[in-house]
Amino acid sequence: MQKVVKQEMMALAGDQAVAYAVKQSDVDVVAAYPITPQTIIVEKFSEYVADGEVETEFVCVESEHSAMAASISASATGARAFTATASAGLALMHEMLFVASGCRAPVVMAVANRALSAPLNIHGDHSDSMAQRDSGWIQMYAENAQEAYDSIIQAFQIAENLDVLLPVMVGLDGFTLSHTLENVEALPDEVVKEFVGVRKFPNVLTHAGKTAPFKLDPANPMTMGPIALQNYYFEFKRQQEEAMTNALNVIQQVNSDYAKISGRSYGNGLVEGYCLEDAEVAAICLGSTAGTMKTVVDDLRQDGVKAGLLKLRTFRPLPVEAIRSALENVKAVAVMDKCMSFGGNGGPVFHEVRHLLYDVASRPYVVNYIYGLGGRDTSPSELRSIYENLQSILQAGRVETPIQYLGLRD
């Protein structure tokens, strides 16, 4: 049995914590383009490169589209590749995100979540990564700088698992996490290096008819991402879906393996319940809001309210069974979205959570709260009002306004 190792307590902003995790994860290639609020990640990492602290090839590209293209190419040759972006940068990558997942390139990317223009806004919300939810990438969201650090290290293990082979994006809330200095316990370099290990490859059949590792290598010529029309395209897509299903188990396994060395775990890796065992009213949210919400739940519990929280750590693949079982006894649920799906009758997390509850025996009331767009701060008292509304819904026995806007000017 492995023992939890001694760790160094550091003061790091979320972006710095990500850069530090990448530094320790034995990454071969980083290709990135700076954009606020992600800039500190690549700035800090390029310092590591310049100071000779890593042997990583740092590729300065002219755009995010190229950053992703370079990351995919590097990954195809067998390299471990990382990039980071936010907002418009992620939007510019859109086309290439599908190429990464379709080529089964296990690229890891940090997204310092930021609003999309217009109007121009550099602050945090989830519009950027939610817009990429169907791109075939695994999506995880961090609650604090510590979880951002831990999740990046775990992401390589998840992405490169042979049952998965999918790219992973780790979201950290722009400014609220990316630029806030916090305590981060960092594992020793050699422990991280051993944890992430050396990249493995499945064996595939080459053009020459022999088996070889699935990577571009002149010794074993093969094609990646070639044309596949009506004959095979559909099968490729079905395989990606299967990989997503496999990821549900792999994420849980990596979460528990990581807990053995670090002493830290995040629920089962997919979702993290807080005071849910006997909760009657509960909220579901992603990212840094979960931390504030825990303090609100503590206060409500002191006042005798049976309140709980479900933090959705992994959004893709959607942990359907984990969410259903966590909410089994909850009577009213508030789903929080830091993002809008214009004309879509609520936010994306709301859609999916309400959808997966359709098949359960006794459905809870479900209400959507859209909040914090463009980095608008959400106070504990505003969050508390969500639970008060859930209690009124229980009393009234119906949901009057299913989609609510929290902290919006009248």
Partner: protein
């Protein structure tokens, strides 16, 4: 019982509010505490009013939002008293620290609250005398150390040496020491 101490810094862009918030946080982490330090994420321009925050706790900090009910308010620039609601959210046990050459009793009249324990410090004068520049953040930090006993002067000195050039660290520590002894309580 609140287990987090929340500090709100008010200054103008260029006076080092975020740096003060960060040095306080780094000092506290060195002393084994959990911290957060962040600026108000607005547009920052030289001379415009800015806000920064520090949270210090003996336990991991989970909350991630602005500070609405600060335990300690620090005002780096006295001209802000007229334009910014610096005492917003301060309660009876709060501590208000203001850069002013005036006695606390006189400054109290310009405040919009009777709440909180008030301290004053002629930070601009001390900064001009020792640094030759009206950068008041370290004088305010010295007063915070005196008024709150949140962190020790010894650790602040260590952190300054880590973060600044040796000559700057030395001068700023002289500022902190003078502020520590000159601070006046209401």
């Amino acid at each position: 019982m609140k287990d987090i101490t929340e500090v709100r810094w008010h200054g103008r862009g260029g006076q080092g509010s975020w740096t003060a918030s960060e040095v306080l946080a780094r000092t506290a982490i060195y002393e084994g505490k959990y911290i957060q330090s962040f600026p108000e994420f607005g547009p920052e321009r030289m001379g415009a009013p800015v806000t920064a925050f520090t949270r210090i706790s003996t336990r991991p900090i989970r909350i991630h939002c602005a500070v609405y009910e600060p335990d300690i308010v620090v005002v780096l620039d006295p001209t802000l008293l007229k334009t910014v609601p610096v005492t917003s959210g301060v309660n009876e046990n709060g501590i208000i620290i203001i850069n002013s050459a005036d006695e606390p009793a006189k400054v109290r009249k310009t405040l919009k609250t009777e709440k909180g324990k008030l301290w004053t410090i002629p930070a601009t004068q001390i900064a001009l005398k020792i640094l030759g520049m009206p950068i008041t953040n370290t004088a305010m930090l010295g007063t915070v150390a005196r008024a709150t006993k949140l962190v020790s002067l010894e650790t602040i000195e260590l952190i300054l040496k880590e973060r600044f050039r040796p000559d700057l660290a030395e001068k700023n520590f002289a500022v902190i020491n003078e502020a520590y002894s000159e601070a006046k309580q209401e």
